[in-house]
Symmetry: C2
């Protein structure tokens, strides 16, 4: 498409580098910004600038935070259990279920030899050190994707934690709540039969 | 949702003010920015800042442009016809058809009494002056939305141009190319029969 202005072309180019945003959407956003008062754009830019320059990662659990010590060690949390996830959105998703009140550990990715991501590229070492140094930790819950990479990472962590005195569990894999059996794939259905459990409404 | 950081919360808040972007998408974009090198965000912010601060509107045709005189008066354009549109994306859409080589006039909106937008809030007066002062203009094509507001605006402009020596036309309303008759609404189908024309493959 031929843009009427180089400024627009450059803005569209930059915005459409974001995931899930194509050139048409980018143009729509650009024109929206131009129709709003100038401080609308200024506020947006300032928020993004502050974010990129001042964001920290908690040195304990690696969650994105405003300081290097996040609220992960709050007194009201159950410090005997650590839930291992791939990224920060997973933390938010698990928190919003209201079913978990323990600690978290963000790996920042998963082991994927195909993409050149080895165990040293994700926060696995600090997890092991954490389990070693914090005596109160009794259980590590692996809440990773049910993909080859996720399972590889889970196996690797399980192996490393074998010598430690902790229980290693994984979140249940099975039929999603509210879905019909006939639409489930065979692997999921097979796993859900193998991992059958006592009936409860919870 | 409870965010792990105030910086993230603020960035999500600002991004989700954009049209078509909810909080979940905004969070995904924010996390994407954090995973990219810092200059990725810097380039984006600079492009948007430049855009907002330096964009101009052509004083003749009101198209968004880098200068106050856009390329609308290029020698190779057909200056005998002005196509009136609501906004800049319409200009781009019509240009990309390759079927029009005349001038444009961007109204910057349409008359909509319900939203408090009267004829004085859109660039109608400058259109009339343009037609009056530029003798070579022989036709004004109205390419506005087929909504009540679009039609109201078209009627208003047609009335004002009645005394001028120009032909006022509107783009054809009918069945979109490639669509089935049975899915067309009655009004469109009715109009397309009333405005029937000689068959051509063009």
């Amino acid at each position: 498409m031929e843009y009427p202005s180089l400024l627009i072309e450059r803005a569209v180019e930059e915005i459409s580098k974001l995931p899930g945003i194509g050139k048409k959407t980018a143009l729509r956003l650009v024109l929206h910004l131009l129709r709003q008062p100038a401080n609308f754009t200024a506020d947006l830019l300032l928020a993004l600038k502050d974010l990129r320059e001042n964001i920290k990662y908690c040195t304990t659990c690696h969650i994105i935070a405003d300081t290097e010590k996040c609220t992960c060690q709050n007194a009201y949390r159950d410090t005997s259990v650590i839930c291992v996830v791939e990224d920060t959105p997973d933390v938010l998703a698990i928190r919003s279920t209201g079913k978990y009140n323990g600690l978290f550990h963000v790996l920042g990715g998963r082991i994927s030899p195909v993409d050149g991501i080895g165990p040293e590229n994700v926060n696995i070492e600090s997890l092991i050190n954490r389990v070693k140094s914090e005596d109160q930790v009794k259980e590590v819950i692996l809440a990773l994707s049910t993909t080859i990479e996720g399972d590889t990472t889970s196996f690797y962590i399980t192996k490393l934690l074998k010598e430690q005195n902790v229980k290693v569990t994984t979140i249940a894999r099975g039929i999603p709540v509210g879905s019909e059996l006939e639409f489930a794939d065979e692997v999921t259905l097979g796993r859900s039969i193998a991992s059958r459990m006592l009936f409860s409404q919870d």
